[in-house]
Symmetry: C2
Subunit: 124 residues, 2 copies
Amino acid sequence: MSPLIHINFRDARPIYQQVKDGFCQLILSGALPPGYKLPSVRELATSLTINPNTIQRAYRELEQEDYIVSVPGKGSFVCDGKQAAQARRRELMERFEKLVKEMEQLGISRGQLIQKLREGEEKP
Amino acid sequence: MSPLIHINFRDARPIYQQVKDGFCQLILSGALPPGYKLPSVRELATSLTINPNTIQRAYRELEQEDYIVSVPGKGSFVCDGKQAAQARRRELMERFEKLVKEMEQLGISRGQLIQKLREGEEKP
DNA sequence: TAACTGTATTAAGACACATAGTACAGTTAA
DNA sequence: TTAACTGTACTATGTGTCTTAATACAGTTA
């Protein structure tokens, strides 16, 4: 019954972007398996009390980025996602390297970051 | 002669934000030492061919965030920056942890990231 | 047939960003 | 003192994005 997606109206990101990001994460994490049928444009719009056009924009862009496929009359479905996940991993790796360089400029060494990573390694 | 700040009109960030980010980096990296006199609002606006109001907004926010101090009639000057650097480090640490968690969800382990960090440790 | 599905279009309002022009007060050097 | 600089404040205007709204059309399914 939890509504898959949560919208925060105080978020700086526009609504359609929050919808996109939400589904991206659900798909990439495997929470929504390939073939899963997404809620219809009108259904999701109603349950979130936002405009159908806003949902449609999110779905259109998700399809353009190969996260889902939309079939008129049938619905929208999660794609295989292996390609999308691969591309996403590369993107995050780039962000990671960029962030590390920025932190080095402020005097945070790679060694400190390694230690920070080790701290989170324990499994409680 | 290099104009301190570069504006990219194709950048998604608004101009005033690009100006802010540019000076933040220059100040935090130490390229602009405490006490350094920034170009005047009108001078920078002319050299970048953008509106003085846009520069003023950037300077106003930089002052609110303790990166610079502006004195009417005299100019704008770089602050000490130790406090700002401390706040910036905390902010980057949060972004780092957030990014790491996102990468873990996509199957990139902390171990892999540690190895990645070690690769960049050599000094050529 | 009726009720669903995605898709497309146009209109309107709200808001942020940027520009333009003007004005005022403090500082500094000629 | 004057002239030229400095930051600051304000209003008006144009533009683009986001969002809502109201329709309309075509494909699918029970």
